[in-house]
Amino acid sequence: MIFFLTSFVVSVMAASTPLLLAATGELVAERSGVLNLGVEGMMLVGAVTGFIVGHYTDSAALGIVGATFGGAALSAVFAVLTLTLLSNQTAAGLALTIFGRGFSSLAGAAFVGIKGPVLPRLSIPGLSDLSFFGPTLFGQDALIYGSFIILAMVWWFLNRSHAGLILRAVGDSHDAAHAIGYSVTRIRFGATLFGGAMAGLAGGYMSLAYSPLWAENMTAGRGWIALALVVFATWRAGWLLVGAYLFGAIMYLSLYVQGLGVAIPSALISALPYIVTVVVLALIARDRRRIRLNQPACLGRSFAAGT
């Protein structure tokens, strides 16, 4: 029993981490007023660049760095389109996803089925060997701890720092922020790049720690679930953690149940996380007032400075 519980918790943590990383990045972007629907594409590009860099350098850590840059590079394209050239954010986000799929499968074609480096798990002699708490608290890979640290830092940034206050102000009213002298475009550019870097990191985690290998379309909609998580959390960092682990658990369970050979066909179980996403969105969206109070008022709207 304790063995089952340990492996369950460890697996859920691994399944939840990419969701948490990507959603944390998107949260920051959305708080500044940028709705980037291209998370899925940025995750895929992150996953493939991470894997390729890791493969050639034989270092998972460098691969993770590469993944981060890959996601950020793609989000820079999005930022130029929507912030400099004032394109529709919905369309540009979709373009990102379509391009990201094509690019990652082209770039990764030669790497399908190859073994790459794997992000090592922490091993603290003594502590990591404890039953239950050892593997769950002290035996995970660095990025799982990293995801908590980043989330805590983002929470602090948004809710406690002056820079975070400016970022939220830009998402609340870009006209007012512009009028009192903040560069809306520059702040949103930064937030978008951070979102892209985090999506890339999430992708890198999938190809270098979670799976760990490269397969076409390996993120399987996790980018879209990350987007839904931001709505689920009603734009609050703390609730992202709850949402990401809820979905991580569902994703792991659907895999686990398939492994047990239960009578339910595996294809239907695979559809479960997506159905749950819709149901959860419906439950959250009923509370319109909370959404209106927390949703950045300028979310998805273009800003053209009058100069």
Partner: protein, 516 residues
Amino acid sequence: MLDRATSEAGPILSLRGVTKQYPGCLANDHVDLTVGRNEIHALLGENGAGKSTLVKIIYGVMRPDAGEIVWQGEKVTIESPAHARRLGIGMVFQHFSLFESLTVAQNIALGINDPAERVGLEKRIIETSREYGLPLVPDRTVHDLSVGERQRIEIVRCLLQNPRLLIMDEPTSVLTPQEAETLFATLRRLAAEGCSILYISHKLEEIRALCDTATIMRLGRVVAHCNPREKSAKELAELMIAAELEPQARSRRVVADAAPRLAVEALTVASPNPFGADLKSISFSVRPGEILGIAGIAGNGQNELMDALSGEIPTGQPDAIRIDGTPVGHMGPRERRALGGCFVPEERNGHGAVGAMTLSDNGFLTAAARKSLARFGFVRHGRIAEFARDVIARYDVRTTGPKAQARALSGGNLQKFLVGREILQAPTVLVVNQPTWGVDAGAAAAIHRALAELAQNGAAVVVISQDLDEIFLVCDRIAVIAGGRLSTPIPVAEATIEQIGLVMGGTQAKSETAHV
């Protein structure tokens, strides 16, 4: 608190030849302006005269295409609002630059660039606001605050940075006459303490009461510098709008014993906007030939009342609103229009009209049924162009024709089109919200004439306006909306501005003291 060296001589600010070109419009054409020390300087002009552009240039929001700015004797290029604030220039915007979801203290902190100055901010907010009679609670969220309170945030935000020049853009448009008096006292005190004030307005009487000097702008140019106290309001107005004003005569006769065309009884509606004002048991009636004015400060339920009357917000109570005796409270806008109700909302682009569509299409938007512009579910393109041409010709709309996009029209011309669109449908009831907001004087006069004519022909007209002068000019009776409640309408002839002002502020002042 405001300790400044006032020993330097010469003006605090002077502009020479400032020019700013927008696409299709020269907003500022070689503007010269000099603001002296300790001076309250009026910048006077109609909507569209270029006042707002000029002050945005001074505050560093925009760059001029040409010309120079001299600040305290030195030529400067003002890079940004932060730079302007460092120089000692503060600005209170007409459309406040506040963040609804943040607190008073956070809003003020966002206007302060030096981290050292943000230390102990809440205490300083309370001190400053107390010292200048501008009460504020630092930890309240902006969306819960009244318009007057919001303006105080802007003023306190400026004062905390010890400005040498404070720019105020149309500050009294959101205040009751009594609140405006309090503001004037604060401004006079600031000027005496050494902070010059650049005061933008088109309200002549208050400029004559407050300001030492005035610069008058028209169509982007400076047309006069003068001492406003030495000129009459009529003289100032003529400088401002170039044409001589003809007084309007009211020569209508209200049929006193006729049945009301529009009857509203105990109308109670929750605002769909979480920050809006709920309507509470509103009752009034308007007879044929009558124009009822509804005064009030912005945000007291005017938009909710407009939307409830037009049917945009369903009220669910059929009897709450009757048009010619027919209960319509449960009906949507189209059914109400079929019964003779026509409406002109405050916001032109995006509410009354679709900016990206042609005037023909915008005519079709509300006139489809009453002018039979559709048949078998298809648009009759010939007839909609004809209707638009008709409106354009009858209401002197300056445009290239029915194919012009609505957003290409100036505010005044689009408003003439929208008022004309409704009046040509021969309504029995017409409700207009802010009919001349942001409209030049010529168009405003034309709109007022059109409303009077419609009433003369037997329609009931409701004019919702924040401009008391307008209501006194065109209406027969007046009521005041405050906190979502409507006062009992009284004849305009029996009302005074002071008395109406008290009602406008009454409810609000009470609710504010309750908060504090």
